[in-house]
């Protein structure tokens, strides 16, 4: 089995890693961007319902473009 980040990979996988994880800077150095936790919540909420939306043809264009970006990233590796 080959690991994938293309067709089967959704934005959820990226968000899971980018929003809560990664290297931590000292709290007094980093500017607390007040919008970020809210951004995380709203992005997650949007993504959680995405499969259903795709099922009914909503957000298809957006999904294609995002997956296109993701595919491009893979090709560059």
């Amino acid at each position: 089995m080959e690991p994938t980040r293309e067709v089967k990979t959704t934005l959820t996988d990226v968000l899971d890693r980018l929003l809560d994880k990664g290297l931590v800077l000292n709290a007094d150095l980093v500017i607390t961007v007040a919008g970020i936790p809210l951004v995380a919540i709203s992005l997650r909420a949007a993504v959680a319902g995405m499969e259903t939306m795709l099922k009914y043809g909503v957000m298809e264009d957006w999904d294609k473009s995002i997956r296109g970006l993701n595919k491009e990233a893979i090709c560059q590796r």
Partner: protein, 269 residues
């Protein structure tokens, strides 16, 4: 460029007053600019400090908060794209999560703050880089065909068969109570089975992963149950073997496996 000035060259970094967005810390040969553009189409540049370098773009914090949801979604992927490019060029890297901005404070420029931070944490950063060198993060999610397992349990469990008989021969009210009991019993059995499978798969996966982080399981499609959600740090030479193992798991029709990656080691820094 939405009011954000691009740098003419990385040496101008100390002049950046408004804020810098940090992507990652890496080692290896630094390169001045990245091919990929960053958030808002800004140039992404590197800042060398000691034997490490940071990948940055200039970006005041306010710039990040004013964006609409669609833009932010696209930016999350741009962040990942930049990390991917660095990953292909650097020795090892430690990624930051999305949205980390350093601003000017007490007369110190953001780059000076970053420089101080790298110098103070140099030893720890080096250790972390060594820990992830030659390895990538992979996501493994295993789904159980819950409907299939429930049917299997219903056929094989004496207790379940007994309750089913009781339902058939009871009044409507009693049948409802038995039905409730049955669904609780089936759920408990399903959980027990899921735990059994988890421990078998986990110990097998452990053979091929240097480190494993257990993530919480999520709701999945009806009839499916996510029994395992792992982030694994895997060395490049073990990935194929891990793939074979997961292939074997998926040969059993009761399971579906999602194997994603390679990712930068977000869960192991």
């Amino acid at each position: 460029m939405n009011g954000i000035n691009a740098l003419k060259n990385p040496e101008d970094a100390y002049c950046v007053e408004e804020g810098i967005y940090v992507y990652c810390i890496a080692d290896g040969e630094a390169f001045p600019f990245l091919k990929n553009k960053g958030l808002g189409g800004c140039d992404v540049w590197t800042y060398k400090c000691m034997d490490l370098f940071a990948v940055l773009q200039n970006c005041p914090a306010e710039y990040l908060t004013k964006k609409d949801e669609e833009t932010l979604k696209a930016w999350v992927l741009i962040h990942q794209k930049v990390i991917d490019e660095v990953s292909g060029k650097s020795g090892a890297l430690l990624p930051f999560g999305f949205g980390k901005v350093l601003n000017k404070r007490e007369g110190i420029t953001p780059v000076e703050s970053l420089k101080n931070w790298i110098e103070q944490n140099h030893q720890s950063l080096k250790e972390k880089l060594e820990r992830v060198r030659g390895k990538d993060e992979y996501g493994i999610q295993v789904f159980l065909d819950a409907s299939g397992i429930q049917a299997e349990l219903a056929e094989n469990s004496i207790e379940i068969a007994r309750i089913k008989n009781a339902i058939a021969s009871s009044s409507e009210g009693m049948a409802f109570l038995y039905q409730e009991k049955l669904s609780r019993l089936v759920s408990a059995e399903l959980e027990r089975k899921a735990c059994e499978f988890f421990s078998i798969f986990y110990s097998n996966i452990k053979e091929f992963a240097d480190e494993i982080k257990m993530e919480s399981t999520k709701n999945s499609a009806p009839g499916k149950k996510m029994i395992m959600n792992l982030s694994c740090l895997v060395s490049k030479e073990q990935v194929q073997l891990l793939g074979y193992l997961l292939e074997d798991i998926e040969k059993d029709e009761r399971f579906n496996v999602r194997f994603t990656g390679p990712w930068a080691p977000y869960s192991f820094v």
